[in-house]
């Protein structure tokens, strides 16, 4: 029997592992985001890039004048701007990833019903999850790269290990995008969605962005160490300060687990929402 191109493509995956949930085409979902992005409001995108710079100038250089230098251990002393810059880098990766994976995803599920359309094709739910999370990750990555290209000439990253801050930012953005989308698929209203913002801001302020955790009582430190942004900041700061050790592996592992859980629950939830 003569089959269409679409059928031949789908049939080629018969017998492959996970064929019911994955068709090997998350890039087509990302391509859709790219096409939509080309005609979107650039100013919104740009604001996410500018935000960490504003923090850097006001806190790093403004407040930094009064603070002077920070002792980061092993007798290593850096300017206050160099201390907070990696935290802002990690935060911008997080913010970029969260923008696309939360409110935009919520809109697509509830109002535009984009995924319903995608899942009526030969795509599987894991294609949609990976494609959307991948796109959100790209935005986090872009913000991190943008921020880095500003702070390197300012002398805020002074050692070669600092280059690894970029792949670290990808890992961080991936983790936040995956968890962000997973959580969003369980949300029912804008009120619930606003809770995400309610969590994000304090997490940014208290996760050791502007001063070490040692200022807090022990129990507070333990809570903060359980949160993802602290791991992100600690990882990026260690890289930009050249403080390399096996002690960084748990931070990496933390994000790998986040990515896995995010993908797992997003895929499961998309299946439940649109394919049950």
């Amino acid at each position: 029997m003569l089959v269409s191109a679409a059928v031949a493509i789908a049939d080629a995956r018969i017998g492959k592992y996970g064929e019911r949930t994955f068709s090997g085409r998350p890039h087509t979902v990302m391509e859709r985001s790219y096409i939509a992005f080309k005609s979107s409001a650039w100013i919104v995108v740009l604001s996410g890039f500018v935000e960490p710079l504003l923090y850097l100038f006001s806190f790093g250089y403004g407040l930094g004048k009064f603070i002077g230098t920070m002792n980061v251990g092993h007798g290593h002393v850096v300017t206050y701007a160099a201390y907070i810059a990696p935290a802002l880098l990690a935060t911008s990766a997080m913010n970029g990833a969260i923008y696309d994976s939360t409110f935009n995803v919520f809109w697509k599920i509830k109002f535009d019903r984009i995924y319903e359309g995608m899942l009526a094709t030969s795509l599987g739910p894991l294609d949609v999850a990976l494609g959307e999370i991948g796109w959100a990750l790209l935005r986090g990555f872009a913000y991190a790269v943008g921020f880095t290209t500003v702070i390197v000439p300012m002398g805020l990253i002074q050692n070669w290990w600092g280059i690894l801050a970029i792949p670290a930012a990808v890992l961080i953005a991936f983790g936040f995008a995956a968890i962000g989308m997973a959580i969003t698929t369980y949300m029912n209203s804008f009120q619930q969605m606003n809770m995400i913002q309610v969590v994000m801001l304090p997490m940014f302020l208290f996760s050791g962005s502007f001063y070490p955790l040692s200022v807090y009582p022990h129990w507070t430190q333990e809570i903060i160490k359980a949160l993802p942004l602290w791991h992100a900041i600690t990882l990026v700061r260690s890289l930009t300060l050249g403080d390399i050790s096996l002690g960084l592996l748990p931070h990496i592992a933390y994000f790998l687990v986040m990515i896995f859980l995010g993908l797992f629950f997003t895929t499961r939830r998309l299946t439940a929402l649109f394919m049950r």
Binding site: R13, D112, A120, T121
Partner: protein, 311 residues
Amino acid sequence: MNSPAPILIRATGLTKKYEDFVAVNGIDFSVAKGDSFGFLGPNGAGKSTTMRIIAATLNRSSGSIEILGKDPELHGPQIRAHLGVVPQQDNLDQALTVTENLYVYGRYFGLPKKFIRAKIEELLEFAALEEKRDVKVEALSGGMKRRLTIARALISEPEILMLDEPTTGLDPQARHILWDRLFRLKEQGVTLLITTHYMDEAEQLCDRLIVMDKGSIMAEDSPSGLIKTYSTKEVLEVRFGSDKNALVAGELEALCERIEVLPDRILMYGEDGEHLLHTMKESGLQPLTSLVRRSSLEDVFLRLTGRSLIE
């Protein structure tokens, strides 16, 4: 004579249960290649549920279903590659233009860009949307959106096109344009699966249909076969005023094969409506208004379920 067309879809004892109700209750049907197959029934009859099970986006509770010889629960993506789906509510990509909608949809199927670009030209012409090609979909009229949704479903050259209530909410002119397009597809040999609660739509588009109510199949045949079996050739509709309708019903019943007393009118079934009207007037009954028409699927549905299709 040619050999009979192969069966594309075969359902046996197909059932979908939810916690508190049974949406589809053990239905059997089969659809042959090239058929234009309709599911007729009121809202809540189980038509859309059945469609979603066929489209491999809803799991059944029990029974079996094969689409092109495959089980949709085991081979979802492969089955969906054969299908073009036009959902009840448009789910076009609002952020994209007309052509972009067609393009990304083709990409979801993994089709090569060159293939899609050529196909888009063909589909824009088919849907009469050439002049809207670079327009965002939110600016389109309801009829245009529907046509675009159908065009989008055709990007992968599906063997089976599934349309869930294709003309609900469209004005008469837009409906006729749509019907015309669906006829063309039928002529090209595309198998059509259509749900509708409009009798005229079912009569226009379907070679064969099943009448569904409360999750079960009440009857299955061609539209004309159904009318032949479950109704008479003609219907005389009379009104005596809402308080009198019930009073004269007994007298009228003696004059014809069967009557249906509705809140606002009485339907009298017979082979010759004019003759029926004549006899009725001779026996001294003067209705306020009268209308003779041919039997339709509405009458079939009324006979089968005791209720109107659109309530």
